[in-house]
């Protein structure tokens, strides 16, 4: 009955468009996941993926993505956020063969991207916190992101990514943040993303 009513409302007033932000530390796999979602529902990727940290240095938007799962529909603006960090050192980029001046420029852009991502915390309707499941999840960046979203009652799903890698430990994420739903995936090979889509519907819709 409720689904029928919702369908009727959407037919007359249009589907509600939800801003879904992908947050996390650099290199957690946010853009890989954003690309997977975008390819699944729009047919094209969103951004470039790189092993060099801070590849995404400005918020990438894909508007009016229509997610359809099991006959349900959700219209959303997908926002791939720059990775949030408390430090940016241009010297870290030199290890990847980037020239000194380019590394400096990249560092400057990365700091601006972090500020932009932080400002967006006030404007998203829901958030996926993407975590590299091979790394310690209990970091200040994750704590700060979660604290700010929780203070605004914004629905959150923790995404334990990179389960295809040896050393992946999803249990560690569940134990660090027991109050949040955790979905384990590999954004790279698409493992379990259907479960993530269902959870997005349950938490956001």
């Amino acid at each position: 009955m409720l689904d029928w009513l919702q369908g009727l409302m959407e037919r007359f007033f249009g589907a509600k468009c939800v801003s879904l932000g992908l947050y996390g530390a650099p290199n957690a796999g946010k853009t890989t996941l954003a690309n997977k979602i975008s390819i699944d529902f729009v047919g094209e990727p969103m951004g470039k993926v790189s092993e060099v940290p801070h590849e995404t240095r400005a918020v990438q938007k894909k508007e009016k993505v229509s997610m359809k799962v099991n006959g349900r529909k959700l219209s959303m603006n997908l926002l791939d956020m720059p990775g949030i960090a408390t430090k940016v050192d241009y010297r870290d980029f030199l290890k990847y063969g980037i020239e000194k001046e380019d590394a400096r420029t990249r560092a400057k852009e990365a700091t601006r991207g972090i500020i932009e991502a932080i400002k967006w915390l006030e404007n998203v309707d829901a958030a996926l916190i993407v975590m590299d499941s091979t790394e310690d999840p209990y970091t200040q960046v994750n704590i700060t992101i979660l604290g700010n979203l929780e203070a605004r009652n914004i629905p959150v799903i923790l995404v334990a990514n990179k389960t295809d890698l040896p050393g992946s430990n999803v249990k560690r994420i569940r134990e660090a943040f027991p109050q949040y739903p955790v979905v384990h995936i590999s954004a790279k090979n698409g493992h379990n993303v259907d479960e993530l889509y269902k959870t997005i519907f349950d938490r956001v819709n």
């Binding site: 408390t86 430090k87 050192d89 400096r104 972090i114 400002k119 970091t139 200040q140 700060t144 203070a151």
Partner: protein
């Protein structure tokens, strides 16, 4: 080896400051090259502001901060502010320092383990 200075800051030092002034105070100490041990956990919006202001200051010499805190995520910021306004203290602890000085920082929710040393130019 250069000296390492640690400032242990009582919560009462910052209790009358607004968030922006609290962050300003902390960053001034960190920019001088000191580690801070603050006798409280920052509110989520203060942590956010601290990262934002830190990013505005990042350059070749100051590469940012390392921060770790103990204490539960407090969703009710108004409750936290009210406690502080009434002269009370919220539980928790925050350790902050210049990123180039902190080699490793680990938090297991009941203790913070920190390894400090100068990794390049003195901040």
């Amino acid at each position: 080896m250069p000296d390492l200075r640690i400032e242990f800051v009582s919560a009462s030092v910052l209790k009358d400051f607004e968030s922006a002034k609290r962050i300003d105070y902390l960053l001034k100490v960190i920019k001088r090259g000191s580690l801070i041990v603050l006798e409280e956990k920052l509110a989520p919006d203060e942590e956010r502001l601290l990262i934002e202001e830190t990013m505005n200051l990042v350059n070749d010499k100051f590469t940012g901060i390392e921060i770790s805190s103990l204490g539960a995520i407090e969703a009710n910021q108004w409750k936290e502010r009210l406690i502080k306004l009434l002269g009370g203290k919220t539980s928790g602890l925050t350790v902050i320092g210049p990123a180039r000085m902190i080699k490793e920082i680990k938090n297991d929710r009941s203790k913070i383990n920190l390894l400090a040393g100068f990794t390049g130019d003195k901040p």
